[in-house]
Amino acid sequence: MSVRHKMLSWAATAAAVASLAAVAPAGAQDAVKIGLILPMTGGQASTGKQIENAIKLYMQQKGDTVAGKKIEVIVKDDGAVPDKTKTAAQELIVNDKVNFIAGFGVTPAALAAAPLATQAKIPEVVMAAGTSIITERSPYIVRTSFTLAQSANIIGDWAAKNGIKKVATLTSDYAPGNDALNFFKERFTAGGGEIVEEVKVPLQNPDFAPFLQRMKDAKPDALYVFVPAGQGGNFMKQYAERGLDKAGIKVIGPGDVTDDDLLNNMGDAVLGTVTAHLYSAAHPSAMNKDFVAAYKKAFGSRPGFMAVSGYDGIHLIYEALKKTNGDTNGDKLIEAMKGMKWESPRGPISIDPETRDIVQNIYIRKVEKVDGELYNVEFATFEAVKDSGKTKK
């Protein structure tokens, strides 16, 4: 009774030492390592899953060797929590000696890793997060997803020109949501439109119902919505439950709300929703048809824009390595990535050599039924759209 816990402390410490050693990574080989940090659990898990799937698919199709080097992908889960992202990134850089960090489901996560990319001088390939400022935070950041400004501007113009006068807005209260709101507002009001109601909803576990009632009472022509991909299904369900579809209030917005990943299960309330976005699974190109078919075959579901961003992200890494002949010097890789152009399932895209951000076509799409399934059908194209969030400065 008198001498306590002595041995327990010993044993626990010994066990800890042993397991630390066990978890410690194996020595570096002659391989190119990509540290993929994604939300694999929690509310943004669908984003992580799509990107991981797309990367797996790409590596199956193109093989896992580039310029004589084997590509090795290490996946870490950050649950979309920025401090976990940071720890994961540090671990990957310091212990696994990765040559790239990639992924990043949400803006805070991408921002948290930015100083590390700068310090370690390795490329950070952002495959999901969509706030304009991200690429300005480090000269080593390259983005293959999109910025909210790209689609929000265009839907703002479109709405003003197509007989929509009064709009109520509902956006998630975090950096991309604010981008989506501000860029839309700017263009829409400049085009003569009026914002009648402005609501910001919390990002975590939002309940849209009370906000939707307010929207309904404000009687707008349309409802401008931005919620991160993954919350669209929930939003549409509550939108239909509150009878806004019957009240004739249509949904417009950047395409996150009608992400292909969930679109088909949203029900008919979503029909007629007009969004501006970078990718639709219904994009009519041969390359996209192959991509969708291969993705469906491998994973049994439709690829969304997150999957395409992941697919293009890994393509960019492959091509940059080809250009440097397998040299993994971060500065050389970034140089190689700048200005790169290629044909993606979403259409022609390139990396802006000045901002390292993506330049791509933005499509205006309407949700329609094709062969009994709901799809975003593209009906207008804006070519080679740059991120106006930066060009403005």
């Binding site: 001498v3 327990l8 950096a175």
Partner: protein
């Protein structure tokens, strides 16, 4: 031997430093030199250990259950972040103490709510306070950065000389130093007459009151102290990661803490430390093996631990060391974890 001197004798023996304890701290320090590539995860463990020790102070010694300990952690984290971000106090150690004091003030204010109820009420009250603060932090996003978190915190060197490095070496030794100092303080507190009176309250508040222990005042004191500890843990978090986001208030953080103490045991200070080590290592191991489904395995292990009972696990873990001890020092030296404590 009279009862009084008997109690005093035992209390004194407990308060004495044992070789095992010294060895524990030597090993902790040695880890810093043995695994130079693992500073980040080790720093994480140290922070969690400090946080768990804070909960142990109120749960293990005073019997106050809490599901909202993250409230203090979060206040400490945001306080440290804001102090540094706005350049109010840039020296990390001073900022650390200031952040701890901020959490302490909150702890003192909310302790009056906590002492009113019994277990279930306390769970709800503490949980509620944490949720409240989380919502406030989200609402006042112009101050806290909301969901995006406090970005752009740059830590100044400790005492103006030791700079935080990317590999987390400074951060680790800094955290260990803080943990050790606070551990010494906690050790002193729990072995003092004040600490003994807390144990009396935990065992039977009515009887404790009957023998003249001011129950409420003691509970307020220890709750406030625990809040200070949690605030320091939170501030360490911000200082070593240079980020503070809404997640610091999250329910998961408080719940994880309970799990840490379930693994490590309460009421002997080392429970939180050992639990933190085991919990994080399990997490790290599983999430390396399966980034998508690691939570399943963690859950499974926890269920097994609880079903088997910690006592039995301890016996198994101690089996081999005890065999050696028996050979060296004879039967009497064999270590057993007392059921009442674990």
């Amino acid at each position: 031997m009279s009862a009084a001197s008997d109690v005093g004798y035992h209390a004194q023996r407990h308060a004495r430093w044992h070789y095992g304890e010294i060895a524990f701290w030597v090993i902790v320090l040695a880890c810093g030199f043995l695994f130079p590539s693992r500073y980040l995860i080790m720093t994480d463990i140290v922070r969690l250990a400090l946080f768990a020790m804070s909960l142990d102070l109120i749960l293990g010694y005073a019997g106050i259950v809490s599901l909202g300990h993250a409230a203090f952690f979060g206040v400490g984290a945001y306080a440290a972040g804001l102090l540094s971000l706005h350049g109010i106090i840039t020296e990390p150690v001073l900022a650390l103490i200031a952040a701890g004091l901020a959490a302490m003030v909150l702890g003192f204010a909310t302790s009056f709510l906590v002492i009113r109820g019994v277990d279930l009420t306390r769970l709800m009250v503490t949980l509620g306070i944490a949720l409240l603060l989380e919502a406030l932090a989200e609402r006042f996003s112009n101050i806290t950065g909301g969901t995006d978190g406090l970005q752009g915190i740059e830590m100044q060197p400790i005492f103006g000389t030791l700079a935080f490095d990317m590999f987390g070496k400074t951060g680790f030794f800094y955290s260990v130093a803080v943990l050790f100092l606070l551990f010494l303080l906690a050790r002193r507190v729990v072995h003092s007459p004040f600490g003994l009176s807390l144990r009396a309250i935990k065992n039977n508040p009515l009887r404790a009151a009957a023998i003249g222990i001011p129950v409420n005042r003691r509970l307020i004191a220890i709750y406030t102290l625990a809040a200070f500890y949690a605030g320091i843990a939170g501030a360490l978090f911000t200082q070593t990661t240079a980020i503070a986001s809404l997640d610091v208030f999250s329910f998961e953080r408080s719940a994880d803490l309970m799990l840490v103490l379930v693994i490590g045991g309460t009421g002997y200070l080392y429970g939180g430390l050992i639990g933190a080590v085991v919990f994080r290592m399990l997490q790290e191991l599983f999430s390396t093996i399966t980034p998508q489904y690691w939570q399943f395995w963690i859950g499974l292990v926890l269920v097994v631990i609880v079903l088997l009972g910690r006592e039995r696990l301890h016996r198994w873990v101690l089996f081999v060391p005890n065999l050696i001890i028996k050979q060296v020092a004879g039967r009497k030296a064999v270590i057993a974890v007392p059921e009442s404590d674990a």
